[in-house]
Amino acid sequence: MASGIRDKVAIQGMGCSRFGERWDADAEDLIVEAYEEALGDAGIETKQIEAAWFATAIEEQHVGKSGVPLAVALRLPYIPVTRVENYCASGSEAFRGATYAVASGACDIALALGCEKLKDTGYGGLPQRSRGALNSMYWANVSAPGSFAQLAAAYRAKHGMEAGDLKRAMAHISVKSHDNGSRNPKAHLKNKISMEQVLNAAMVAEPLGLYDCCGVSDGAACAIVTTPEIARGLGKRDLISVKALQLAVSNGVEAQHNSWDGSYFATTRIAAKRAYHEAGVDDPRKEIDLVEAHDCFSVTELVTMEDLAISPEGGAPRDVMDGFFDAEGTIPCQIDGGLKCFGHPIGASGLRMIYEVYLQMQGRAGPRQRRKEAARGLVHNLGGFPHQNVCSIAIVGRHGA
């Protein structure tokens, strides 16, 4: 059996641009903004980077295809640059590429950078684009909110839950994330909101209202990774290393086979199990200190807490209402505001989540810093639709923990 990635790769440096409606910035500007911070944090020069992975998901709206836009923006010295795309989990995919390259010994220092410039479309929400030639001819007219909203219908049917009870639990999630986002200077949305605002907001896709949906943002985030030995050699202390990196991709069972009930993510459950095994986590509710989940919609965050085995099945609404995932709760979820408020520049999101966990563990998270020390943080990055998706789970933590 493979020994896994645990503690084989350390994070040398990270950076993240300010997220939001960056009318002032091109993709190139955002890339450089994130990279400069990471380079300073890592204490290295560009020429020391031996390979790079570049994540963008909706590249036709900004940089176009290939690794070239990253190489040009950063003037990378003719090194291998690979562009990756795996729905909204693209950022995690770039991180996986860079981490695996270092773990394999193929290179000493590697860069993962994700970027999305979405606010040049002329309208709100994700860009409307082709789903593939055949898919466009038979897929339902699905949008992201309309597909994720269906989790609520199936979840209610499964657990016999009243619509209002689920809607209130979902609303609590959004209120919490706005509260967290208000303490994050880089966040897209920094306004606090009330339960009433969430419950009375305009409907986007039943039962998801405006505040049940995350923002669509411009932004970039990046990580420079290396081996723990090199990191120490470069003067790093209190290393943050990678404990687990798992990816599970739907194979059509949820979409075509009647074994899935529509109320959870089959991929998340599988990826989580593998990640806990790889990281040596036996009881996630006790051993995970922080969660950055892919809260594209409030209901996604809710069911994901069960899929990650942090809440028992059917128990997430209660944990949510009890404040278990609030900033001062037992396991804060989206302490940075999450996709909901930090924002969701697709290709950058997975890396942004790792960035937050990395900051929190070093006590560098500013006004939103969690007082209780964290040893392990879990990053859940999801792309696609509940019935057909890509789920990435990364666990990062103190080296040796």
């Binding site: 309208y123 269906q150 049917a157 075509q256």
Partner: protein, 490 residues
């Protein structure tokens, strides 16, 4: 010997209130007020003559009886394609593509009856069943009398080389270039001449002559006619003709003005199918089609009419209408008003024709797969079975899902995505015999969708490519129940 083996029909669920039409035009034409009676049938935004014809044909044929159809005749003056055989699309949707001959019949409001006469001739010659389907969705100018009198609808009749439920006794046809109205090439709307002339010189002269010729040919006394199917929206014309010919006035069939309207080239067949629903063995049914001449057909119901499933789709769809009192919605659905659709509607909808051809069974026929190793049903069909406990290679046989009952597993009503009729309802439907599909929903009422709800699959317009004039069809899930007439939600 030729007879009607089976019959069926389809009237779209939406019923536009004529009062709503009249009220919208009252400022300019208060005289229309006299016609503010009842409702007319209108297509949903995703319906057209092809989709209505598929529904009527399915109603006519029932399940598992497609194999022996040798020819499909499709009659309409409002078919979506000038050059792409509309009958061929219908044949693929019915999964008889590649087996049956197909022909589009158009050019006159007699198209329906002319197709019936042509098909009867072919059946007499080939001794093989032929399906005749008619459907009409007339494009009418706002505030025109046609806008009020017309309705959208479809009917289907399966002819075969034996008596069936109603034997064809005689047919007669005469072409006369009597231009009561016309629609020139590329023109949107009909140009109509004066009603009094149409009545006196057209109907009252051309129809009696043709009917007389037919009855003489058949040796049938006019007084013996039990059902007289004579579509005509002009007042008192049908009574006058019946009276002059000696046909009992009690035989005059309902024009279905209430709840349906005149379905143009389809209306003779719609009225015929409606009559067949009521017919008793021995009943004589006279059908007239008028339009630059006259077609007449005479049928006699046989004992087998007792065994035919009744009521057919005409009565059933007439009973399940939903009243729509928003005239603007009708204008928008029919592209009769320039409407802001938003940037999300701007995506390129080009259809790769080579792919459409390769996947025509899947896209037009809703054909998926059934694994011959494990029995798992799946849509779409794939090279490797989806069942995780099987995953056999190349193990799937064709399996049509079109007639599988389905239930809602999950759903949403989406206000973000572009839809001509927001919100867009869609969700995962699970087929009772197995398999599932994330499907668009259609014909749903707001607030009425629930997990577990019974659905049936219907052939509809998926998207229209306005840039290129192409129509993309696929199947959607519609509520299976037959609710009584529901009030508009305005």
């Amino acid at each position: 010997m030729v007879g009607i083996q089976k019959f069926g029909g389809y009237i779209p669920r939406l019923r536009l209130s004529r009062k709503a039409i009249v009220d919208a035009h009252a400022w300019a034409n208060p005289a229309l007020k006299a016609q503010a009676k009842s409702e007319r049938a209108i297509c949903n935004w995703d319906e057209d003559p092809v989709t209505m014809a598929v529904e009527a044909a399915r109603d006519c044929l029932g399940q598992n009886s497609r194999g022996d159809i040798a020819a499909l005749y499709f009659a309409s003056t409002s078919a979506p394609f000038d050059d792409r055989q509309n009958a061929g699309i219908i044949a693929e949707a019915l999964n008889v593509g590649g087996q049956a001959a197909a022909l589009d019949v158009s050019g006159s409001l007699r198209a329906g009856t002319s197709a019936l006469i042509a098909a009867a001739g072919a059946v007499a010659l080939d001794h093989k069943p032929a399906l005749v389907v008619s459907a009409e969705q007339r494009r009418t100018a706002a505030a025109s009398p046609l806008e009020l009198s017309s309705g959208d609808g479809s009917a289907a009749v399966l002819l075969g080389p034996d008596d069936g439920a109603a034997r064809l006794l005689a047919q007669h046809s005469a072409a006369v270039d009597f231009v009561d109205h016309y629609r020139g090439h590329g023109r949107e709307f009909d140009y109509v001449w004066e009603e009094r002339w149409i009545r006196d010189e057209g109907y009252l002269k051309i129809v009696p002559a043709a009917v007389k010729a037919l009855l003489e040919k058949a040796g049938v006394a006019p007084a013996a006619i039990k059902h007289f199917c004579f579509p005509c929206t002009l007042p008192r014309v049908a009574d006058t003709i019946a009276q002059r010919l000696g046909i009992p006035s009690t035989s005059l069939r309902d024009q279905l003005a209430a709840g349906c309207g005149d379905t143009g080239s389809s209306h003779a067949l719609v009225m015929l199918v409606h009559a067949l629903e009521d017919a008793a063995p021995g009943d004589l049914i006279l059908v007239v089609g008028f339009g630059q001449g006259c077609d007449v057909l005479l049928f006699q119901a046989t004992d087998a009419i007792r065994d035919h499933a009744r009521p057919s789709g005409i009565s059933r769809s007439l009973a399940r209408g939903k009243i729509e009192s928003n005239y603007q919605k009708y204008l928008a659905f029919n592209d009769l008003v320039k409407i802001e659709k938003g940037m999300r509607a701007e995506v390129d909808r080009q259809t790769p024709l080579s792919m459409l051809y390769r996947k025509r069974d899947m896209l037009l026929g809703l054909v998926g797969g059934r694994c011959r190793i494990c029995g798992t049903m799946q849509f779409p069909k794939s090279r490797i079975c989806v069942n995780p406990n099987c995953n056999a290679f190349h193990s799937q046989d064709d399996q049509s899902f079109a007639d599988f009952p389905a239930r809602v597993l999950s759903w949403s009503a989406d206000y973000l995505t572009y839809s001509p009729d927001p919100p867009a309802y869609y969700g995962m439907v699970q087929f009772d015999p197995g398999g599932r599909l994330m499907a668009d929903f259609t014909d749903v009422d707001r607030g009425a969708v629930e997990v577990g709800m019974d659905m049936r699959m219907v052939f509809r317009v998926k998207e229209r490519d306005a840039q290129r004039g192409f129509v993309r069809y696929f199947w959607k899930a519609a509520p299976a129940g037959a609710p009584a007439v529901a009030k508009s939600e305005a």
